[in-house]
Symmetry: C2
Subunit: 187 residues, 2 copies
């Protein structure tokens, strides 16, 4: 079975984007490209990714930055599922598969496509929560930026018990890896 990880940046107060879906608070933060939980190392182990429609549209809206960062208008060469109930435009040359759920079906398709590699939930928070609800979310890796926003898009809008596996610093970020234990059953 592959490991399904929700790997994301977040603010200290648990927002993955501001109320206008902006990541302007994130881009100025320093990180070491070969540091703890760095993207290149993480992504090298990933065989399929899944994201919500808001995340997908964010990527489409930031194609200029994508070209600068990745040399391509679409950042992934591996199969990507986009969870949506709407009609969204595909990206030419990218392996993007639109799906409306349930997430367990998407998980099975992703696992088959990943050919032994692991799976990544890019975002958003509710989609990661849907995988957790289905008992399919194995790990959460957070890059916590030294920022509070007070409002925005929630990191993971669920009651969940996690277990801290590893933590450390990467540049301006506190980076931590957690195992998902299950629903939080506190009184």
């Amino acid at each position: 079975m592959p490991t399904l990880t929700y790997y994301t940046a977040t603010t200290l107060d648990g927002f993955i984007a501001d109320p206008e879906d902006s990541l302007a608070w994130l881009f100025p933060q320093e990180q070491e490209r070969d540091g703890l939980f760095n993207y290149d190392e993480f992504f090298a182990g990933i065989g399929a990714v899944v994201m919500g429609s808001t995340t997908y549209e964010w990527v489409l809206d930031h194609q200029r930055e994508m070209v600068t960062e990745t040399g391509s208008v679409w950042p992934y060469r591996i199969p990507t599922w986009v969870m949506t109930s709407r009609d969204l435009a595909p990206v030419a040359g990218a392996d993007v598969r639109f799906a409306a759920g349930p997430v367990a079906t998407v998980y099975d398709e992703m696992a088959a496509a990943a050919e032994g590699k692991d799976l990544w939930v890019v975002g958003g928070g509710d989609l990661a929560g849907q995988f957790a609800d289905a008992g399919l979310l194995d790990e959460v890796i957070t890059y916590v930026a030294p920022v509070t926003l007070g409002s925005g898009r929630p990191l993971l809008p669920r009651r969940l018990a996690l277990r801290l596996l590893e933590t450390g610093r990467n540049g301006a970020f506190v980076c931590s890896r957690y195992a998902v234990v299950g629903p939080g059953e506190w009184a």
Copy 2:
């Protein structure tokens, strides 16, 4: 000038209490009493504390636990300011001073009473934010529990830029200390 620190536990998704002000998610988490940013070491440097009325009432509602933890119905022997616009019951034998603000006035009173020691905002998040608004919040120390709640009392409902000073692990917690840089001015 003393250092004013907001020292608090929080969930990974930025809640200091659940929607019913419960900390049931917090109590089972392990910590080392002599570990990073431990309470005894932190509190030894504190000369005055301030809290909001919800935090104060939480302490009053948990006197049995307080006796078990601290040997007293009131945990602090140092002057404590409680920010409130309501009439609240005092605690017999405790140096509790009710104030309605502004926070800058309370800060001056606390600094004078602390006799060279530092100051602690116990909670809640909005009160810490009021001190930040006034440019008086110097540091934030978070004990991040391996928990998400999805809703509850916000850690620090403001747009703030912080700077990570130190981070590490204490038991189940990721513990980090930040300097407050100022308002977050991202586009």
